[in-house]
């Protein structure tokens, strides 16, 4: 397995995979940080992040997953490398090695964005200390939907030589997932799409916001964690992994 990881690393050298991922992450950070200026938002900053960021994650993380998975799989498609790899190594192992490598890139982005969120909070001087328990929940509820989306995209990218297909499916899924967050009237919509779980697992609500006073009398509160959705998503991840691996093992190369 170690040699397969090494092989993945060698294949992605000078391919700017990490750089592309981190460039998108940099855009993510540049987009979300300059907005906390008012005194009200400094007062509410820590909780406001937990309220706002799931929406940003629902746009960025799936698109990042599409790009990273496509980049890693396209290397094999272009040179007809899967056939050669399958001669020397078990297909399941190839699937696992590429998956772990890609997930490592994704998780590095999730961790960096999480760490930067906290660092930025301290830098601008959010009032009070960081609610670390809630932030750990947030990290978990960002990482697991990202893993599920990446698994889906990775399997599509590996199975289709034409990378336009995973891109279109992923973009439409991201679109649906983002929109589902604006439709709390249809909670089933979030739960029926892997892209919707960023919204389904968000656990902070905004109260007291008005058009006139905006955040002056507003506050954020925990509205409850949807553990059932989380458990469903974990099972979906396991199911997608097993199905994806099996599809790849049976695929005609």
């Amino acid at each position: 397995m170690i040699s397969l990881f090494k092989c993945e690393f060698m294949k992605t050298r000078r391919r700017y995979v990490f750089m592309t991922a981190w460039a998108i992450l940099a855009a993510f950070l540049a987009w979300i940080y300059p907005r906390h200026q008012s005194a009200d938002l400094l007062r509410l900053g820590w909780m406001e992040n937990l309220y706002e960021l799931p929406l940003v994650n629902a746009i960025f993380m799936p698109l990042l997953s599409i790009i990273v998975s496509s980049r890693l799989c396209d290397i094999e498609h272009k040179g007809y490398m899967l056939k050669q790899l399958a001669v020397t190594e078990k297909r399941g192992k190839i699937y696992d090695a590429k998956l772990i490598y890609g997930l490592a890139i994704m998780m590095s982005c999730v961790m960096i964005s999480w760490g930067m969120t906290i660092a930025f909070g301290y830098h601008v001087g959010y009032q009070g200390g960081v609610p670390i328990k809630l932030y750990l929940f947030y990290l978990l509820f960002t990482a697991v939907p990202t893993i599920s989306v990446y698994l889906f995209q990775y399997t599509l990218s590996l199975c289709f030589k034409n990378q336009a297909i995973p891109f279109f499916v992923g973009a439409m899924g991201t679109f649906l997932g983002t929109f589902s967050m604006f439709l709390p009237q249809f909670p089933w919509l979030r739960r029926s799409l892997i892209w919707g779980y960023y919204g389904a697992l968000s656990f902070v609500g905004l109260f007291g916001w008005t058009k006139e006073n905006r955040y002056q009398y507003a506050h954020f509160d925990v509205i409850g964690i949807d553990w059932l959705s989380f458990i469903i998503l974990v099972f979906v991840c396991v199911g997608m992994y097993l199905i994806g691996r099996e599809i790849f093992k049976r695929k005609e190369l």
């Binding site: 592309t20 790009i67 496509s70 980049r71 991201t174 009237q185």
Partner: protein, 243 residues
């Protein structure tokens, strides 16, 4: 010559999945945006304009640039694969026409998408109980959105021609769409190439186009960008050494 190249491009796209995506993609904001509009009519009081904001909210900033990025990448991927550039550039056609043919093909696709978005918008409006659609305004959104989108198409074709990877130009389109949002927020939407599509389609503040010099200025800026990227693309294509 150009007509033959356009025909060749059309043949290459036959039975391609990109058509399906361009049909399905706008249906998502049409259905979900309309649902959002219906459930929030207390806040969204400007009828057709409010509905338009719901349809175009994320489409303009994120998903349409990405779709155009994918489409341009796909057009160029056909040539990047199997050393097809060698075959294309040994054909008895000028290299600049090849670039131009791809640009026109992508622009036609964009125009068809815009028309489809507007058709879905009108249907959604009627479904939401609205009457008397503002036809002229819708036509303006469609025409100027296409014009602004053509700038994005020109850049993306240029990028996809120079980057062999399928994913990276799409990533750039995504970042471009995002940068467009930032420039729009800073009131510089009328000069930034990736903002022009959402600027042309912008129903949130239609007066902005008038403030920034009117539709004439908008057309000149778009035409200038399209000409600039086309010239750069043509020059690169002409000087290109094929490997």
């Amino acid at each position: 010559m150009l007509r033959k190249l356009l025909k060749a491009e059309r043949m290459k796209l036959r039975r391609s999945p990109v058509w399906l995506a361009f049909i399905l993609m706008p249906v998502i904001p049409a259905v979900l945006g309309t649902a959002n509009y219906i459930y929030n009519q207390g806040i969204l009081t400007k009828e057709w304009i409010s509905l338009w904001t719901q349809h175009t909210l994320f489409t303009d900033y994120f998903f349409l640039p990405i779709m155009l990025g994918i489409y341009c990448s796909y057009l160029m991927r056909l040539e990047h694969g199997n050393n097809n550039w060698n075959k294309v550039f040994t054909m008895p056609v000028s290299r600049s026409s090849v670039f131009l043919a791809k640009l026109i093909t992508a622009a036609i696709m964009l125009l068809l998408s815009m028309i489809w978005i507007c058709v879905l918008f009108v249907i959604s409006g009627y479904a939401a109980g609205l009457t008397n659609p503002p036809w002229l305004t819708i036509a303006k959104w469609c025409i100027f959105g296409t014009l602004g989108g053509m700038v994005t198409v020109a850049i993306q074709i240029l990028i996809s021609m120079n980057i062999k990877s399928f994913a990276q130009p799409v990533g750039i389109a995504f970042l471009g769409g995002l940068s467009g949002l930032v420039f729009l927020a800073k009131n510089l939407g009328h000069i930034w190439p990736y903002s022009l599509m959402s600027y042309g389609m912008n129903a949130n503040a239609p007066q902005k186009i008038a403030e920034s010099g009117g539709y004439g200025t908008f057309v000149i800026i778009c035409a200038g960008y399209i000409a600039l990227f086309t010239i750069i693309g043509n020059r690169i294509a002409v000087r290109r050494d094929i490997a």
